[in-house]
Structures are given as C-alpha cells and as structure tokens.
Symmetry: C4
Subunit: 291 residues, 4 copies
C-alpha cells in the first residue's frame, strides 16, 4: 500500500496518482465555479456534492499517507504533508465554524498539490529543469535582494515626489488642506502603489498624473524606472547563459585526484597534472614524449 | 502545371505565387473591412464581389493543387492542404447555410497561407532562421512547461487571495453575502483573469484592487509575478546565445596538442602551429611550401 | 567658412555647432509649447517671434551650407540636406498657404537634426556604439522579419477570434445584427488593434473582453502572445552577446598571410601556421624546438 | 564612541546600527501613514509624537557623527552627511516655518539611509554585487545615452504625428480651431507623454487614439517602439553575461604550450600537463611528489 501511495512506478501507483491529479483539477474547478454567482445559484447542490465527495477522498488519502508513511510525524510536518492537510481543512472549518462558509475557497490551496503532478507525468527531467531554474534564481539571490532594496527606495522617493506634485502643491494653490483636495494620489502609500504598478510597466491607469508637472516628472520616472526594472531580467538571463555555458564542460573525472570539472578537450587534469584517460587520446601524445 | 503551382523556381511559378500572395492579402483586407459598419454599408456590394471572385479563384487553385499533386490524398490531409481548404470553406458555408453570413469572417484563416510567402519571396534563409527560432523554443520546451505549471499555480493562488481580500472580507464587513457585494473581483476565475493580465504586465485596468489591503497585496504580487515572468525570456535568450556561440567554433582537435577550440576554417593549430588534418585541406598548401 | 559650418574641429566650428544645437532645442520647445492652449493664448506673440527668428536663422544656415558645400546638389539631396530643408519649410508653408497655420508643427522635424549633436559633443565613440547597435539589429533583420510576419498572422487570427467571441456570438444570442450590437470589438481591424496593444503588453484597457469566454480566450492569447513577444528581445540580446564575445579576439594580424582574426592567446596563425610576433612570446617556445 | 557610530564590527556598533535601521523604517512608515486622511484624523497625536521622537534621535545622531568624525567638515559635505542632514531638516522647517506643515513628508528622504542597511546586515557581498551591477550599467553608459537620444527623437516625432492625426486633422474636418477641439492629445507635450507611456509598455490608457487613422499609426508605433525599447535590456544582459563569463577564466598562460584558458584555480595546464607557475602555488604539491 505504501508503494501505491508514495511511488508511481507500479501500475497501481501510477493509476492512483493520475486519479489523484484528476481529482485535484476537478476540485479546483469546482471551487472556482462555486464563486460565480450565476452558476452557484443553479448548480450549488451539485457543486457542493462533488466538493464534499472530493474532500472526503482527500481526507482518506491523507490518513492513508499518515498510516503508510515510514515516519508519520516527519511526513506530517514535511512540506507536502502540510500542503495535504491545508488542502482539506478549509472545507471542514467552513462547514463547522463559518455559517456563510466563505473559508472553503481556501481549499484552492490544493492547486499547490498539482506540482506533485510532475511525479506522475514522469517529468523527472522537468523537475531537474525546475531545479536548474531555481538554482539560477538562487545564485542571483544577492543581486535580487540588492535590487529589491534599491527598488523600494526608488518607489518610496518617487511615490513621495508624485504625492507632492499631484496633491500637496495643487492643494496649496487651491488653498485647501491636502486631505480635502481631491486627487488620485491621496496618500504616500497610494503613490507608492502607483510607483510599483508603473515601474513594472503594468500601468493599470486607475491612478494617473493629471497636472502638467506630474506628467513631466512621471514620464522621467517611467524612463528611469524602466532602465531600473530591466536589470534583474539581465541577471537571470546572464545566470542561465553561464549555466548553459558551463554545461559545455566534461564530466570526466581525473583518475588520480578525482577532480571532475575539466574544460572540453582537456588532456591533463588541471589539479594534479595526471593524464585523463580518454579513449580517443590513447594514441601516445607528442607533448609528453619530449618532457 | 505541377511546377507552376508547387514550385516557384520557374518564372511562371514565381508569377503564380506572387499573384497568389497578392490575392491573399486582398482577401484578408476585404474580410476585415467588411466588418467595419460604416464601410460595410456603402461598399458592401464591391467588397462581396471581390470576396466572391477571390474565393472562386482560391477554389480553382485548390482543385488544381489536388489534381496536380503527385499524392492528392497526402496533400489533402497535409497541413497546407487543410489550411487551403479551410480558407475557402467559410465563404461557401456562410452563403449556403448561414443567412446572416457571419461565418465568412472565418475565411481570415487565409492569413495562415501568408506563411507560404516565405517560399515566394525566396526567404529560404528566413525559414532557416525560423527553424533556429523554433529549435530554441523547442529545446526550452521542458523549462517552458514547468514554467507554465508554476505560473498557473501562482495565478490560481494569487487570484483566490485577491478574491478574498477584495470581495469576501469587505462583504463580511458590510454584512452582505459575497455575491451581493459589488466588486470587480466578483469570482475566482475573474480574479485569475486579473492575475494573468497583471503578471504579464499587460495591466488593462478594467479590474483593479480598491481596498488598501488589496493594493498592498497586489503590489507584492506584481513584484513577485514580475520576477517570475522574466524567467522564460531568460531561457530563450540563453538558448539562442549558446546556439550562436557554438556556431563559432569547430570541434576539430589538433593532432599534436589536442587543442580543439579552433575558429571555423582554421588550417593550422593556433597553439602549436601543427597542420590540422582535415579532409578538405589535404590538397597541399602553397603557404607551407615556401617555409 | 566651409570648415566653420561642416567641421567642428576649429573653435569657430565648435561654437557654431553648439549654437546650432541650442537653437534646435529652443525651437523644438517653442513649437511644443505653442500647442498648449493656455500658454499659446498669453505668450503667442513671443513664441511666434522666437519661432520666426529661429526659422530665418536656419534658412540662412541652409543657404550657407548650399553655398559652401563642395557639391551643393549632392548635399541638397543627401539625407541631412533633406532634413535641413524639411525643418524650415513647414513654417513658411504654414505662413503663406495655411491661414490657420497648423502645418508649422511639422517643423518638429528639426528634432531629427539633434542626431547631428553627436558630432558637436565629440561623441564619436557613441556613434560607434550606435553603429554597433545598428549592426546588431541589422544582423538579426531576417529573424525580425520572420518574427513580424508571424506576429501579424497571430494578430490577424486572434483578432478575428476575439471579434467572433465578443461581437458575433453575443449578437446572434441577442438576435441583432453584429453592427447593431454594442461591443468594444466592433470590427476585425479594431480587434487587431486590441491584439497588438495586448501582445506588446501595453494594455491600454480601452478595449477589454467583457464576456466570460472572451476573458478565457484572451487570457490564453495573452500568455501565448507573451511567449511570442519575448523572442525578438532574445535575438537582439544573443546578437549583442556574441558581438561582445567576438570582441575578445585579438586584432593582431599574421606577418605572412595577414589574417587578423585570432583567438586571444593564439601563438600560430590558424591560416598559414606562421608564428605571430608578439612581444610577450619572444621568449623561445618549447613546442617549436622539437619540430 | 567613533567606532560605535561609524563601525558595525563591535557588538555596540552593531546594536547601534540595527537600532538606527529600525528607527528609519519606523519613521518612514509613520510619515507615510500620516498622509492617509482616515488614519491621520484618529492617530495624528501618536504619529506626531513618534515622528518628533525619531527626529530628535536622528538630530542627536547627526550631531554625534559631526563630533566623532575625524574630519567633521568632510563628513558634513559627504554624500551620507548631506543625506543625514536632509533627513532631519524637513521636520524642523515644517514646524517653524510652514504652518500647514506639508514639507515634513520630505523627511521620507530618510529612506535613502536604508541603503546604509547594507553595512549593518553584513551585506558586503551584496554591495559588491551592487558594484558589479553599477559597472555593468556604467560600461553600457554610452550605448544608453545614444539610446536615450534616439528614444527622445522617436518620442518627439511620434508624439507630433499623433497630435496631428488625433487633433489637428479632426479639428480641420470639424472646422474648429485645434484648441477648441476636444481630444486627449490636446498638445504636443501631452502626445509626447503618451508616446513615452506607450513605448515603455506602461500603457495607462488615460490617453488613447480614438480615430481609425490614429489607431493604425499607434499600432505601428507600438510595434516599432517595442523593438526599440528591448534594445537596452539586451545591452545590459550582454554586459552582465560577458562579465560572469570572464570571471570563470584566468588569464594565466601555460609556460610550455601557452594555453591561457584555464579554469580558476587550475594548477596544471589541461593541454600539456605542465605545472602553471603561480605565486600562490609555489608551495610544492603532494600529488606531484608521488609521480
């Protein structure tokens, strides 16, 4: 039974995992559809039925995992264990404690379990790609933190600047207090929200400069922000490039010191000078002779 | 006749293809213009005439292709064969079955045939570039799939989160049921649509957070989403870089010092001056003689 | 006088060019300001005076260039000659022929002359960078054309698709003719405009899907379009990377066959095997001895 | 005392810096919150109290820095000195001179001091990353300037073009003067603001083309602008890639075969097995002995 649940190599295990995957997708769609008033009205009973059915199935599965797991506690507090628990709790909580039952939508956390799909779909290779991706981001983490701090400072300052140009100044001109003056930039946090929406080039347009000065300044900030925001993408790309670059190295390891990172075409270990045994180089080597 | 239709090397074939290309462009513009009410009113007759003329021409061409093709069936079920058929069917269907004749716009599928233009315009080289492009995308396909799954999970979760912050919570505060509460995030699918529009930095602005909490959270999600969305572009770029990189080196290694990083077309090893043994260079080399 | 106008090496020539640059900047600001109603009302006379003064100066300069140029005709029909002419014509045309004098704004073409500033500011190096940039784009031109054709096909098809989902279908459901049905996607060209605005992630929000189906489809199109639109940036980056890569080669040319593209650290010419004379390699070379 | 304030190696200094950091974060939040009308009304007294407390603390710190600094004047006019001063002045100015006390928000300049956090958080490594980032941008500065000039010219021209298509032409058709004609593109500067917002793909949507011609032209401009705007990101990425690339190789060349592409830390040439003469490896090498 342990194999069926935790492995997907056996036919049974594979069937189990695929079924689980479908169940997760169903329940996510159900939870989503339930929130659409028009649908909720007509189909509520059907949806709730499916929802409950799935929740019970997931509960059984969770218990089964706990039972089968070699280290139940370790599983219970592992990432997947917590996700599995969180993905069933909301429905119960919603049922027992919240009459209006809104919390159930939290069950959407099940979507995280989709990542488990990787195992089912035999996407080992994908996972390794995901790892690579993660490493790329991880290697660039320091750069990203520096970048985020710089961005936050830029957002704070440009937000304050816009708040002044768009609210304080016009208010002074109009002779009213800023809080009475009607402006979209009605506070610094609001202006910072604008700055983030603008710098990432999302640009909703719900908050836009209206004064001429405001437009001039925001045009400048947009150009500066744009030059700022393209940087992290450069970092990630550079990181990924250098990775694909380093893949050009050979994995051959030195027979003496076992160093295994050699440039392509290396004949001698760059650590200990030992000759690397490669079939196509068994032909004796002129350089070595004269030494 | 086969050559005229399927090849573009002969003058006749070239003329045919260019004519075809122009015909396709015309018909696309016509179909587009027909949908503009103001134009449709005045010019309807002219447009319909052109449209019918072109459709008949395309039908004749299709029949001709079927007749000339060495393997009519294989052509009929090939990609181009199906496109050719789909590009004439809508007009007939629209005429015979749909009185209001809306389906005709489907004839816009003809635009796909424009890709055939590559052949006409002697853009073989472009096609090879297109291949390269396709390979770059293809090599990164696993990464892209992983990425899409991660994106969908992120979209689902952030959508649900925003639905809660923008609809459920305010509704509870206002003491009404969520479906009665007026909010732009009126369902989880709607919120997921918002999440996609936001993460890709399209940012229409038709759905925007209105509560303070909603703005704070969406600002965070925007920054996270932005860092997430720049990744695939990094992958494609890295892929393309490594391709253009590897095109610059040969794998041939020097017989004496085994240096294998030579510029394309190198005759002598740039390390030890040894002659590189390459079939196409066995002809003795004048420069060498005089030394 | 020729030197003063066409060269900027002499002090006089430099002063002339800087003055010209300032004049151009002034006139651009003036022309822009003239279009702002509030300003135009009060300052119209002043602005017009400056504008006329500058136009006359530019006319004198143009005549002077014609006179001094070694080949007046060649200058007159050169790129810069035409730009110089176009930058003064509008004001006169506006004055003599167009009473309401709108054409004058065309004088904004003067901004093109700012590119001449490079010469003044001794930005030769920048120009070379601009060349490099241009070459990068030029080398990727085939890819870019392929890309544009693909984009146009994608835009046409997705535009038509959205036109159907957002206008035709609802119209049929409502039982009215499409042109009577009120929708933002009121024609295929309009929908194509939406597709371009969306795929480039500009996302004005003036045209947005309103039906559920429309939102689902456009969400998909956005993700597809995004993956499509990141490609050219990948091409340009790859091109630029490989350029900065190839800069790592040495410019040293072989004393015998004058090949001048060698890998950094090459000792022997990869074309003729001749030893490359480099100071730091004059120390005799073990490899050479044993041959 | 000098160490406590200027260094963060001693426990005391570290505590001081962390406290300072927290104080800065507090005061920024306070200043931001003060601008939110709803909060300002209720909590004004509390917020002002905290604000004054922090300002006085910062003043004391500033004086202390002046006193402890080895070269008080040099500190006073250093970047950090000026920032420290500017971060306390606004509150006093607001108190003594401006009754409505708006200037205080300028105290948000304190956020710049957050960059000092790097020192506290022992983020030396991050700082070096920031340097690298800065160098990457700095190396690409000429390209960026060229790019900005080109962008400004493009913005000016496309802005003027849109102003004509959207305002002048319709006004002439309607037979009214442009300033009377109601259009979103009501002046060239306004149109230039639109051009910048559009080219950077921010796309607020507060100014959008309404005429058919305007839409066609802006669709073209968007595509052109997009191809233009992806270039600098390409430059930065290429710069970063080549940096991370060059960090992987040493310039040391092998004394025998002059191969100079060795992995960092290589002891023996990977081509000919010769020992690479490097100062930090002169200590004899155990591996070598046993051969």
């Amino acid at each position: 039974m342990h194999d069926v649940i935790f492995e997907s190599d056996t036919p049974a295990g594979w069937t189990f995992d695929v079924g689980l995957l479908i169940a997760i997708l169903c329940s996510i769609s159900v939870i989503s559809l339930e929130t659409i008033p028009s649908i909720a009205k007509q189909e509520l009973f059907v949806l709730e039925a499916i929802e409950w059915l799935l929740t019970i199935l997931f509960s059984i599965e969770y218990v089964a995992r706990l039972v089968c797991a070699r280290h139940p506690l370790r599983y219970a507090f592992s990432f997947w264990g917590i996700v599995d628990l969180l993905s069933i709790l909301p429905t119960y909580i919603g049922f027992f404690f919240v009459p209006q039952n809104q919390t159930r939508s939290f069950a959407i956390l099940r979507s995280i379990r989709l990542l488990r799909a990787f195992r089912v779909l035999k996407l080992w290779r994908m996972m390794s790609d995901a790892d690579e991706l993660w490493h790329a981001v991880w290697n660039a983490r320091h750069k990203i933190i520096v970048f985020l701090i710089v961005v936050m400072v830029a957002v704070t300052i440009s937000g304050t600047l816009m708040y002044f140009v768009e609210t304080i100044v016009p208010a002074l001109v109009a002779g009213v207090r800023p809080e009475q003056y009607d402006s979209r930039f009605d506070s610094i946090p609001q202006a910072m929200y604008w700055a983030i929406v603008t710098m990432t080039t999302v640009g909703y347009g719900d908050i836009v400069p209206t004064t001429t000065t405001g437009k001039v300044i925001s045009a400048t900030l947009i150009l500066l922000g744009y030059s700022l925001i393209i940087v992290p993408s450069g970092f990630v790309t550079a990181e990924l490039s250098s990775r694909s670059e380093s893949e050009k190295r050979t994995g051959d390891s030195c027979p003496r010191c076992a160093t295994d990172e050699h440039l392509v075409g290396a004949i001698y270990c760059h650590r200990c000078g030992e000759r690397l045994g490669r079939s196509h180089q068994d032909s004796e080597d002129p350089l070595r002779k004269d030494s």
